[in-house]
Amino acid sequence: MNLGNSGSLRTGRGTSEAASSDAHDAHRVARDAHRVAVRFSGVDFAHREAEVLKNASFHVHEGEFVALIGPNGSGKTTILRLILGLASPGAGSIEVFGAPPELARGAVGYVPQSMSFDRAFPISVEEVVRMGRLSGAGRGCLKGGCSDVDDALEMADVADLRDRPYAALSGGQRRRVLVARALASKPRLLVLDEPTANMDEESERRLYAVLGSLKGSATVIIATHDTDFVSALTDVVLCVNGRSGDEAPGGVARHASGPVERVSSGHYGGAILQVLHDTDLPDDARCVSCADGTAETAAPASAGAAPGSSPAEPQGGER
């Protein structure tokens, strides 16, 4: 089963080229929205007998930008690990692009939450990004001149750092390098775990600019412990162990989001949305029919979004 990339990510192309392919991109985004990227069906997961997920069910369409929110310890990282095939559910089923997660790994890029690393480990930025081209026991992309690595470095805005030792970078730069590493495989699904934790505002702005450039061309799932606000890039808000009180413990609820009236301190490098925890949405809120996996995007999940607004043109308050 070939679940690998299908050239779904935009690469560092010129302005005129980008303009000429906008129509093509729009068509592709609409086509991808018919497909389900991730589907959890009745998933249970326990860690050392502590129940983390109980009958969790949700699905995400291709091309959607998803905020997976919840307090610390709620199970966000567990969900990401299940998507990546790094953990197995106790019950229920998980599909990534219609296949078990272990078989879909080649199509998924992963940016870990906080990678503890040996500062004495001698390795350059380019070598870290090359790891993204690894596949099983293959030789990957050992030498320079690998265009996917060059593209990823450009996209993540770290091309000028390529020869620098990884340990010499700031925290924000390292996080963008890890994003580049995830992009090097041209993933159809990009999974980020708390990507802006302990990040300064400038680094956060640059990271979200990178993610914004992926909007619509890849499915993006971002886990964050900020349960009040999400980036305005967000199409879908999934609340893990939500706090509306309506959903069962261990579940994943789909909540609405809306524009922010006034924000004193900003997040996510630009426009943001407020999560409306009191407004639960059905799991098929963005579908006409999802049961058979041939979903069709029907309406933005954002309760306050302007009618007919494009998912690529986020609504929300500026910082």
Binding site: L84, G85, L86, R105, G106, V108, Y110, P112, M115, F117, D118, A120, F121, P122, I123, S124, E127, V128, R130, M131, G132, L134, S135, G136, A137, G138, R139, G140, L142, P165, R181, S185
Partner: protein, 279 residues
């Protein structure tokens, strides 16, 4: 007679053997030592190297009592090394909360078994020679085995370099790219176990772990990547070996201990210089 005169003396082939052993060992110390260092498994390698004494003692006992006539100590060492590597590897992967306890227990139990069997072995068997080694006793057969292991380690390191680098740098990410990190870990432990058995002839059980970490640790200050660390570590190890052998010959001191002291002094000096530069 100076060390370098002895090298060319036809009546002293053991000196040339010692030098060749030092160079061949340096490849293992540089390449495998870099992997052990960046994987941070020096403690595990230390446990394996000490558990090896159990196999040596058992082999000496079985051979001396004609239970298994002619059983060489290296055979017992190899069996114990591989068994302890497998146990330590499984414990490390499956029982992380008790990892330290179990590994230290294997370390102590292996050594104790060795001491008990050596004590009950008829005749005289000196555990000191196994603990601290004697490079001047290296045989031509030892050199061939070291050469074969060098080739194996170089081929494995070249072929699986991306997997080794990724699993050492970020194991979880490596798994998401389909790398069998557990297999990489167990193979590294297994090869380290075999290397420890061959290398203990050179610097002994106690000090082999020092040579698996000091040249690589020193080269880590100069290398830009893991491959560079392996190459520079090998060069450092050659330098330490030649200097250590020459000094030990000149001052009539134990060669293994002097090689380790030269390596340790260089590592500490470089570390102090680096720390001073940062301050």
């Amino acid at each position: 007679m100076s060390f370098f005169s002895a090298l060319f003396d036809p009546a002293m082939p053991f000196v040339r053997n010692a030098l060749v052993a030092g160079i061949l060992s340096s490849i293992l110390f540089g390449v495998l030592g870099s992997v052990v260092t960046v994987k941070r498994i020096a403690g595990l390698a230390g446990a394996i190297s000490h558990a090896v004494l159990g196999g040596i003692g058992l082999a000496l006992y079985l051979s001396a009592n004609k239970i298994v006539p002619g059983l060489p100590p290296i055979a017992g060492a190899l069996v114990f090394a591989l068994i302890s590597a497998a146990l330590i590897g499984l414990v490390s992967l499956k029982a992380k909360q008790r990892e330290d306890t179990v590994i230290n227990a294997l370390w102590a139990i292996g050594m104790s078994i060795g001491i008990v069997f050596i004590a009950k072995t008829p005749g005289y068997a000196d555990p000191m020679s196994y603990l601290f080694g004697n490079i001047l006793l290296v045989s031509a057969r030892d050199l061939v085995m070291l050469g074969v292991l060098d080739i194996l380690v170089i081929v494995l390191a070249w072929r699986y370099y991306p997997q080794i680098e990724a699993s050492a740098f970020d194991e979880e990410f490596a798994r998401t790219r389909g790398v069998s990190t557990d297999a990489v870990f167990l193979v590294i432990l297994g090869v380290t176990a075999i290397a420890v058995v061959l290398l203990q002839t050179y610097v002994g059980i106690v000090m082999v772990i020092a040579m698996l970490t000091l040249p690589a640790g020193t080269s880590g200050y100069f290398a830009r990547n893991l491959a560079g660390m392996m190459a520079i570590g090998t060069l450092f190890s050659v330098a330490f070996s030649v200097a250590g052998l020459a000094i030990s010959w000149g001052l009539d001191l134990p060669s293994g201990a002097i090689v380790v002291l030269v390596a340790g002094a260089t590592f500490l000096a470089v570390s102090a210089l680096r720390a001073g530069r940062k301050a």
